[in-house]
Symmetry: C2
Amino acid sequence: MKKIGVVLSGCGVRDGSEIHEAVLTLLAIDRSGAKAVCFAPDIDCDEVNHLTMQETGAKRKVLVESARIARGEVSDIRNAKASELDAVVFPGGFGAAKNLCSFGQKGADGVVQPDVLRLVKEMAAAKKPICAICIAPSVVALALGKELSPRLTIGNDPGTAGAISATGSKHVDCAADDIVVDRDHLIVSTPAYMLAGSISEAARGIEKAVQATLELVK
Amino acid sequence: MKKIGVVLSGCGVRDGSEIHEAVLTLLAIDRSGAKAVCFAPDIDCDEVNHLTMQETGAKRKVLVESARIARGEVSDIRNAKASELDAVVFPGGFGAAKNLCSFGQKGADGVVQPDVLRLVKEMAAAKKPICAICIAPSVVALALGKELSPRLTIGNDPGTAGAISATGSKHVDCAADDIVVDRDHLIVSTPAYMLAGSISEAARGIEKAVQATLELVK
């Protein structure tokens, strides 16, 4: 059975993983007959009240909050090894851009959280597929842009696409329910809630993306 | 377009709505061409660390945490009116049994949160369908058991089924991916993670339950 790492960044669109995207990812992996294995970094994040969409000034723990989505089954990403995984998927949400890296704060000048960076580089070196959803391609762009110039999509927002391109990556416009596949670097991306107007629309793109990722597994 | 109320109870299986069940409910409603409208009570709950599964001693706000699942689009259940809804769905999670009612603490002696109780009674009086997932049938059992003796399932756990029966409701054993439909009282239930071993199995039951609920809408 294929083992697919799912990298979470908290629990909630504004300060963690976008919950619908994360659950739709787990569903698509399970329905494909593969096994999802969840990881998250053991770091703090800035808590956002999701009713007012304002930062509260408090902190939450990314690993502990990610456990809500994973029903307790989540490990520190420090323990994730590319040798034990067939592919990895990064659901979106601001947590991907603010906790897994600092693209959200610094754009193309951002850096990737060290344990996440190590895993992404290990996967790329091992020629194993990486799938990134919504704003999560920013993690891949910062990690691999200069070295590999991967083709990626975050939808069609000009500002965000420009910042992706400024990392050295090549941005490709894409519809909400479609995917971009970089067959040279085994990287799949889909815009999901960067563009989707409904959960069904996001689901169509995520199902295609997970399917394409599994097909790239050797 | 049919408007379906989705009653959330926080964000996380141990102190709120079970996240997978809530998202699968929203997906099934959207894919059926109906519109989901999320509600939650504006009350506190006991926070559980989902990595250790221990209570932390801190409180969280049920409405604010529910907004994470609803991407901000959730209203105080005090404002929910049966006259404006075609059906309501209660996803599971301990929050359904501990925040929406006190079945989790007191079994058949529990009571239902007043705003939730009002909505359930209004829906039943208006002959509009109610769908309850996982442990959420406990809310319906406490609200309507004595008056209507509805047929419900929470799966096949003897202790929980006994407590459901002690409310005056009739418990029916059911497989993880199947449903129980009480056509006299327009109440649909499915065990989901009370029994499901995977997200796909939970999804099959929830899809059937939402479909059956929409078919009961007059």
